[in-house]
Amino acid sequence: MNLGLYMAQRLSAMVMVPLVFGHLGVMIYAIQGGLTTAEILERTMGSLWWFLFYGCFVVAVSIHSAIGMRVIVHEVLKLRGLALELVMWAFGISILFLGARAVMAVTML
């Protein structure tokens, strides 16, 4: 882990601090009386704010989790060099893709 990765890891963490608090609050609120697709979509559909909130979240979490996975894979599986870079980028891009799809699914049609 060098300075660049460290900064990306810490800055994405700082971005996520308020977002995770928000997300925890939404969860505790949303699960009252059970969850339905209609209820989720009613809350989020067509809302620019939810789009921005979860859009930022997805970008930050794909950076943060990819670097975290890189560290674990390096320390536990002893992977290094190009293979390690590939694991990090593949994980981050997958999360970014899945996340973008999910955010679009619940905020726009």
Binding site: V17, V58, I95, A105
Partner: protein
């Protein structure tokens, strides 16, 4: 067995942060995939959400919220240790992080059942 040189609060705080982070990172793809069903197959999502109503799944959800809360407070602890002038009160910070995580996930569980 936990080796003797690891039996101190900061090492446990580290391990908790690593395991919660790993758990969340592995859960994330599933979570995002299920959410995207709202667009592609709303009926499947509803079936999934109905399935998620049973108590075992509720407990697993509590676990996930706990992981998120643990990782959040553990991360705040790290950011404070690294970026705020060093206070030397690391052990109480680690304990406070854990307490905060229990508080948040506990209230989730109370609401859920």
């Amino acid at each position: 067995m936990i080796r003797p040189h690891r039996t101190h609060p900061l090492w446990f705080a580290y391990m908790l942060h690593r395991l919660s982070g790993l758990g969340l990172a592995l859960f994330l793809p599933v979570h995002l995939y299920v959410l995207a069903m709202a667009l592609t197959r709303p009926a499947s999502l509803d079936r999934f959400l109905a399935f998620a109503d049973n108590p075992i799944v509720k407990l697993a959800e509590f676990g996930l919220v706990f992981l998120l809360a643990v990782h959040l407070f553990g991360g705040l602890r790290l950011l404070a240790l690294e970026f705020l002038p060093w206070s030397g009160r690391q052990k109480s910070a680690a304990a406070a992080a854990l307490a905060g995580a229990f508080l948040v996930s506990g209230s989730f569980l109370l609401r859920a059942v």
